[in-house]
Subunit: 351 residues, 2 copies
């Protein structure tokens, strides 16, 4: 296996007898314990994790609890703008946050390939540490398994996130109402374009970078201004098109969007053209779509634009009573087309 | 990839265009949705999962919350007594239960290999359904990723479990007290011996079967009789030896066990001898070890023996003030030896 590690380490790799992952690192014996003590604990240390019981015990404040799980298998594991580590933290933080919850805790399950350089693991853990700190969440329990060389691909990470929802919020894909405004927090297709150009070894005048970021702060700014937000979702796999179609079907409404309002970086647009990708179908990892009562839309949009992760937010369209279950786009030419969901993927293993 | 599917399906496989997993099944498009609608939902259906939001929203009763996560990579995925599906449910149910919590909810993250027969997935999901039903837990949210052929090994499953701990319980590996009795719920090494003999193609006069089972009912019976139980743990990877060593170190006590009291099936003993394994180091998936105040030990042991999963429970030994951090075994010959923790594994990928 060959992994290109992107930059100088900010923190030296712990000294160990082995340079690479051995089968015994996943077997629950002394080498497993060394991995926990030298690699995991120094990165994620907190009072709950430190107990090293087989389960974490937490006190949750009153409120409904939001739980989300995701396995991350992105390839390559290091890419411009991020790596599998911060992606695994941000991805689950965002899924929890899209219920309006404040994400508080993450679990982390690692599947490591025999022979993985410990430097790669260390680098990924440093990213997870930084991402967890930025999002304000603690990693409170975890698990490590090792499989033989050739039986996984470097490493896979599962994260499960837990957050608490303020009692006055009621945010769900099934809550869209005709008349709602559809807001989008920024440029589309950045993550997918960064992964695919890296994978294909394409170079562009400006490097395309993933937008991976934790959106819980942006969600908090939005729900503080407008607790009546109807729906939130981050358009990851399947892109903006998939999220809007899920909204339309779950709420039995139509959605009309306006092509000329879609924010997209010129480099990303160019990459998608060369690669034959529809940017509406390409994954994002630091963007959200909201359905907001019309009377609150301007205020929410203004709040989004004041947040660093919502500077390029736009009103993308509106929810309609007609075209139930469908997403329709008014094109730049003034025609209308249905924005459909692809049968499969455009991009495998983008997260 | 070749997978031996053990028995006739109790429920016919859903009709689909493909017989095997395609990359597109993991891409968030229409084939992903088909997998959810035809395979996952019919097995795990409940009001929370059905919403198909990117996160599950639950109401938890008052109490501390226990959370545990585990990734399962067992090989082979079907083995005598179980498969990766019920193992993934029972393993996490047990880790949650060992805090004294009542497990209530599970998340499930699947990493599937391109080309995996859908019949294999279906069979594993049927096992998960049966195991979740037996344990009384609901699977409330999930995730599916697909990686290219040769980049994982059939399928890997992560489960994260959530349970609520009654406020009067205080159970932790750090709570052992000198004088406590060490109770063991039944025969040791059954799971590891079943996996290894299957993997090596060994046959014995009687088939060895895994003990995979949900222990939450047994824990409830024990904590009802004796809320003062100090510690509980299921001796999985690293076996009874690892759990006892973890107890001794976390509580700064010694542990003395008696070799002639260790319950072990003769077939398992024979397999371990042939394979050169110390049964104390071999994984269990349906057993627990408890540290109990001496005055309550007889009553707890009696309660364990009345439970189907504790019929062969024994008092294995006691907690001592001397030999801090060590586990000592009085052998059948009357000598004493230290029961140490292995450097690595005896058995890779047993769970």
């Amino acid at each position: 296996m060959s992994v290109k590690i992107p930059e100088a380490l900010t923190c030296p790799i712990p000294k160990t007898d082995y340079d690479t992952i051995q089968m015994a690192h996943g077997a629950g014996g002394r080498l497993s314990a060394e991995l926990v003590e030298k690699f995991f604990l120094p990165r994620f240390r907190n009072a709950i994790l430190e107990k090293l019981d087989d389960q974490a015990v937490i006190d949750l404040p009153p409120g409904r609890v939001a739980i989300s799980t995701d396995s991350f298998v992105v390839s390559p594991i290091f890419f411009p703008g991020g790596d599998i580590g911060d992606l695994a933290v941000n991805g689950t933080v965002n899924d929890v946050a899209m219920s309006g919850a404040k994400p508080r805790y993450l679990t982390a399950g690692f599947i490591l390939e025999e022979g993985l350089p410990l430097e790669v693991l260390h680098r990924v853990l440093l990213s997870m540490e930084a991402a967890a700190s930025r999002a304000g969440v603690n990693i409170i329990t975890g698990d490590t398994k090792v499989v033989e060389r050739g039986h996984c691909d470097n490493l896979f990470i599962n994260t499960t996130g837990i957050g608490v929802i303020a009692t006055h919020l009621n945010i769900s894909a099934g809550n869209l109402k005709p008349g709602d405004k559809i807001l989008l927090s920024g440029t589309i297709a950045d993550h997918g374009a960064a992964i695919l150009t890296t994978r294909k070894g394409l170079s562009f005048s400006s490097e395309l970078t993933s937008d991976t970021a934790p959106l819980n702060g942006l969600v908090e700014a939005m729900t503080t201004i407008c607790p009546e937000i109807h729906a939130l979702r981050d358009p990851t796999r399947g892109g903006v098109a998939m999220t809007l179609n899920e909204f339309a079907r779950a709420s039995h409404v139509g959605i009309l969007i306006h092509e000329e309002r879609i924010p997209i970086q010129s480099g990303v647009r160019g990459a998608c053209e060369i690669l034959g990708l529809d940017p509406l179908l390409v994954a994002n990892e630091g963007k959200l779509i909201a359905s907001v009562p019309p009377e609150a839309a301007d205020e929410v949009l203004a709040a989004m634009r004041q947040h660093p992760l919502g500077r390029n937010a736009v009103e993308l369209g509106e929810v309609t009573a007609e075209n139930t279950g469908l997403v329709v786009m008014r094109t730049a030419l003034g025609t209308h087309r249905i924005v459909d969901v692809p049968l499969g993927e455009q991009l495998p293993r983008i997260c």
